[in-house]
């Protein structure tokens, strides 16, 4: 097959009028018969238009003068109002003072950003509807004062119990005080943001034979009492300079900003303590063992006697005593895909946030907004910026579509049209395709030598790799592979995943007659 490359250099010269007359005629003749080059030429012209627009775009207006406090010499007139990371500015008094001033400005500048709907609105006036979820900004606290923690997202089947035993609020932007015990049933999720700048996402694990409910779980009086919790987290210490979380059970994914000297962030499980300096990581506990997945930075793992067991550097995974059939304690690599699957909401609460309410819908598998993905298995509510006008839905057939939102007195909800469309069990006019195992297996088998080469290449650097994985393939109507993803627990090495996915994208199956997704189990084991 002749793999023609578009004549970019010649096309650029043509656009700039730099071709000779003869060269110009030759290229125009070629363009008449070459759709690829015509498309490229169109893209070039589009790019020239859009890049021109971007050059003319100014950053969104930030009302520096209105938001900038008095000169530093007058700054001791009263406590500053800050939000989020502002209180974590520098160490020395001199710089800290300046930083508080600075970050107050930037924080409020961010508020303007979220209102930025047009080019660069000068000083945005807040729209009257929908009403915002009230969020009282804290005064600048002392370093060891309790730090505010907000709920960003909470699905159904979650609860919070405060230190005095009373029921705590779990709605969007509700505050969680120190000592709160967060309890989630299997499949539920709650995301939190701390004033120190950390983002947390707690998820309830499905129960296994090895997991046992705690005493508290047995005490529940409602219908869910019989079912043990899938996650329990105690917000043991929430201070500006020290965060300590006790994970009794469940999966806790965290994104922690770089900590300054003297600041601590740690997660404690039944047997281990995980201490970080600023990173993206996940800790999972079934009540006995611990699994740590590290996507950025470095973490230290200690036993409960404070003896350091290991120091992990991203990307890596470590576990000890989780499930009986898991591999023994050790360090393995984790993939970027795993990081994506465990990302907490990164959004910082602002004072014009509104509640977004999402139901479960027949056609939606997952929601995407604010740079995270949320399973659509349970209904949930989240706090989002007021100007959010759409989110993305991953449908059960793997397609991703934008979904518009409507403002109501209660906050943001799906529009009636979107609700109707996504509630239908099947998209009209396009039935999903189908293929039998007899049609699928021969294609996968033909691809085995290439998979073997991927594995052998991985073994050169990682001679101990032995994994059981699942290759998920989404096919187009014509049988070509639209999307390939290799997943496993523990996660396969990134190099192996990339290679296998690249190979699988070249496979060609019989036409399924519509979009079709299936999974193929693959086991990679060395043969000695």
């Amino acid at each position: 097959m002749n793999a023609h490359q578009p004549k970019v250099a010649a096309l650029l010269a043509l656009e700039e009028g730099a071709l000779s007359e003869a060269g110009r005629h030759r290229l125009l003749r070629h363009l008449d018969g070459c759709a690829l080059c015509r498309n490229t030429q169109e893209s070039m012209r589009d790019y020239a238009r859009v890049s021109g627009e971007i050059r003319a775009l100014d950053p969104p207006a930030m009302d520096w003068e209105r938001l900038m406090p008095d000169a530093p010499s007058h700054s001791d007139a009263g406590p500053r109002r800050v939000r989020g990371p502002a209180s974590r500015a520098g160490d020395g008094y001199r710089w800290a003072l300046a930083a508080v001033i600075l970050l107050s400005v930037v924080g409020a500048g961010g508020w303007l950003m979220r209102l930025w709907g047009g080019d660069h609105a000068p000083v945005a006036t807040r729209p009257a509807e929908p009403p915002s979820v009230a969020l009282n900004e804290p005064e600048v606290p002392a370093a060891d004062a309790p730090a505010a923690t907000w709920v960003l997202l909470a699905s159904d089947r979650v609860r919070a119990r405060q230190a005095d035993g009373s029921e705590g609020a779990t709605g969007p932007l509700a505050r969680m005080p120190e000592g709160t015990r967060v309890q989630l049933w299997a499949g539920a999720r709650m995301d939190l943001a701390t004033e120190g700048g950390a983002s947390l996402s707690l998820r309830g694990l499905a129960q296994t034979a090895s997991t046992r409910p705690t005493d508290e779980a047995d005490d529940q009086a409602d219908d869910q009492a019989a079912e043990p919790f899938g996650a329990e987290l105690v917000l043991e210490r929430l201070r500006l300079r020290h965060t300590r979380l006790q994970l009794l059970r469940g999966e806790l994914s965290q994104q922690v900003p770089s900590l300054a000297a003297g600041e601590r962030y740690e997660v404690v499980t039944a047997a281990h303590r995980v201490s970080v300096r600023g990173t993206h990581f996940t800790v999972e506990s079934d009540g006995h063992g611990t699994r740590v997945q590290l996507f950025e930075g470095t973490v230290d793992v200690f036993d409960r006697n404070d003896r350091r067991i290991t120091q992990l550097t991203a990307p890596s995974s470590w576990q000890a005593g989780m499930h009986a059939d898991d591999p023994p304690a050790g360090v393995t690599e984790v993939s970027a895909q795993a990081a994506a699957n465990h990302a907490p909401l990164q959004w910082r609460p602002v004072d014009d946030a509104v509640a977004l309410t999402l139901p479960t819908l027949a056609r939606v598998r997952e929601w995407q907004f604010e740079h995270t993905r949320v399973s659509a298995e349970l209904p949930f509510r989240a706090g989002v910026a007021r100007d959010t006008d759409q989110l993305l839905a991953t449908l059960v057939d793997g397609r991703i579509v934008p979904v518009p939102l409507a403002a109501t007195a209660e906050g943001l909800v799906l529009t009636e049209a979107a609700l109707g469309e996504l509630s239908r069990a099947r998209r009209l006019g396009r039935a999903p395709g189908n293929l039998t195992p007899e049609q699928l297996v021969p294609v996968v088998e033909r691809g085995q030598p290439a998979l073997q080469r991927c594995y052998e290449r991985t073994l050169r650097n990682r001679p101990d790799v032995s994994v059981s994985v699942t290759l998920r393939l989404s096919l187009r109507d014509n049988g070509s592979v639209q999307h390939a993803a290799l997943r496993g627990q523990p996660a396969p090495p990134a190099a192996l995943s990339k290679c296998v996915e690249r190979v699988a994208l070249m496979w060609r199956f019989p036409s399924p007659g519509g979009p079709f997704t299936f999974e193929a189990p693959i086991r990679f084991r060395p043969v000695y």
Binding site: R49, E53, E370
Partner: protein
């Protein structure tokens, strides 16, 4: 040295000596540049405020280390660019918004979607910036500096401490990759169709 440069040098010297008012002045003077540079690297992104925040903090922290070996504007550019690049790199390990099949989108609620030209421009810019995520760091940087910031290749070469031919080569291949990505992106193609002359004469969209 111009009077402005002399004034800046004095201000920087005072700031480095711990004069808080001078620090404040430096920050006031450069904050628009910080916002602009960060904006060029990130585009219309909800993360912009975070990057500007981090960059301004870095300016504060790094001011004592500024030795005047390069122009302050160059030093500032490198600093903000580094913060933006670190952010983009970190973002790479977080979930990205996947390509949207625009033709399959449910119909929008007309009341919610603003249709003014500014919003359209911002959407086109956002779509183009999403494609930039597919370029390597080096190609993206050169493309942003040249095509979006309007910087000359010589200045880019100085800024990146790279031969000018390398800058030109990266720019060529960055554009080439981008054209190919644009051709394959249905989302961007749909947005761009509004820009093409033929579309102006067509029927208004429903």
């Amino acid at each position: 040295m111009s009077a402005r440069e002399v004034e800046l040098a004095e201000l920087l010297a005072r700031a480095q000596d711990g004069d808080l008012e001078a620090c404040d002045r430096v920050l006031r003077d450069c904050r628009q540049d910080v916002a602009r540079i960060a904006f060029r690297y990130l585009g219309p992104s909800p993360d912009l405020e975070d990057v500007v925040q981090e960059a301004l903090l870095q300016v504060y922290r790094s001011l004592p280390a500024f030795k005047g070996e390069s122009r302050f504007s160059t030093w500032l550019y490198r600093l903000v660019a580094n913060v933006a690049k670190m952010h983009l790199r970190a973002k790479g390990s977080r979930p990205q918004l996947a390509a949207i099949e625009a033709q399959e989108a449910p119909r929008h609620d007309e009341g919610r979607i603003a249709s003014d030209e500014a919003t359209a421009r911002r959407r086109r810019a956002s779509a183009l910036y999403r494609l930039l995520d597919n370029l390597s760091d080096k190609k993206r940087e050169v493309l942003v500096l040249h095509d979006f910031e309007g910087m000359a290749p010589k200045r880019i070469a100085d800024l990146l401490d790279t031969p000018i031919m390398t800058v030109r080569t990266r720019l060529f291949y960055a554009r080439k990759e981008l054209y190919a990505l644009m051709t394959e992106s249905p989302e961007l193609r749909e947005l761009l169709s509004e820009l093409r002359p033929a579309a102006d004469e067509g029927e208004p969209s429903p």
